[in-house]
């Protein structure tokens, strides 16, 4: 189950941050997302460790914590997508698929002429679409 997703702009400015838990741990999840930004920077600036996957948008597992796994995705325009999940055995293909859909939703949202680049995405339809994608990710792994 995905507990938190985030979109972070090229200057590390948050564009969209949404957690999907009942419990009151939003702050903790935001902290996890915040920490993962450093990991992304490190991955991009020292790409020696994963040389074959050089310059791929999907960054794979950024780091595991006790309860979560954090996945990252970096676009050509330096927009970062981060996903925090509680599933401990996530298939790379599933994560890739999730990010592809998430990215498509983001592109549609920023193509709105009323969206100001660099500002938070306030679109309600984007939020609805992201929650659908997040829900379908959960069902996809159990099925």
């Amino acid at each position: 189950m995905i507990v938190c997703v985030a979109v972070v702009g090229h200057q590390n400015n948050p564009l969209y941050l949404q957690s999907f838990t009942e419990a009151d741990d939003a702050l903790k999840l935001h902290h996890v997302v915040h920490c993962s930004l450093d990991v992304i920077d490190e991955r991009v600036n020292n790409p020696k460790r994963n040389a074959p996957a050089l310059n791929e948008t999907f960054l794979g597992l950024l780091y595991p914590t006790e309860n979560y796994k954090v996945y990252g995705y970096l676009t050509n325009t330096k927009v970062k997508f981060i996903m925090v999940t509680t599933d401990l055995d996530v298939k790379d293909a599933d994560a890739r698929n999730f990010f592809r859909k998430f990215h498509a939703a983001y592109v549609d949202a920023v193509s709105n002429p009323f969206h100001v680049p660099g500002k938070k995405i306030a679109s309600r339809s984007f939020g609805a679409r992201v929650s659908t994608i997040v829900k379908s990710f959960g069902s996809g792994t159990t099925a």
């Binding site: 970096l74 050509n76 325009t77 330096k78």
Partner: protein, 185 residues
């Protein structure tokens, strides 16, 4: 999945936009009109790169990003690749398109021109035709600048068609100065 727009609609919108800004809102200040049109293009280019770079790996350097603009981005927008790319290796790039799609259907109404021009010789006609057409180029320039800015290359883009005869308006070359290279040099 991809939704399409008729080319004639795009042509019409661009021409109407230029007419509205140059003749209506900022009739007295052509530079301001140009800046406004360029800014609209900037936003369009900014959003388009987001979409067109979706399925490709990240660019490792500036040249790769510029090649993307010349090939893929150009084909998406103008249905062909550029004809020539020159660079001085110091951050200036010249992109040349010998048949720039957005200008192929531009024509200048000679009756309007002859009223404007005091003497109806071909040079005055060519001059004002070039001036009218150059207003149409601020929008594509803005698009290219927006696209490159979103890819992390801050630059200035200028269009140039001045050294060409008036009958061949659809030649288009654009000069691209990237700022970061200048600072490094």
């Amino acid at each position: 999945m991809g939704r399409e727009v008729a080319e004639s609609c795009v042509d019409g919108v661009v021409m109407q936009m230029v007419a509205a800004y140059c003749g209506g809102f900022y009739a007295a200040k052509p530079e301001l009109a140009a800046r406004r049109i360029e800014a609209i293009g900037f936003q369009v280019g900014h959003q388009l790169t987001e979409r067109y770079t979706m399925e490709r790996p990240r660019f490792s350097d500036h040249l790769e990003a510029i090649k993307f603009i010349c090939k893929d981005f150009w084909s998406e927008l103008f249905k062909k690749q550029i004809d020539n790319l020159k660079t001085n290796h110091r951050g200036t790039f010249v992109l040349q398109d010998n048949r720039f799609r957005w200008l192929t259907r531009v024509s200048v109404d000679p009756s309007v021109e002859s009223m404007d021009a005091t003497e109806n010789d071909s040079t005055t006609l060519g001059d004002s035709a070039a001036q009218t057409t150059s207003m149409l180029l601020y929008f594509p320039c803005g698009i290219i600048r927006g696209a490159l800015t979103n890819l992390g290359i801050s630059c200035s883009v200028t269009a140039d068609m001045s050294n060409l005869p008036a009958c061949e308006l659809h030649h288009f070359s654009c000069l691209l100065h990237t700022m970061q290279h200048h600072e490094a040099a």
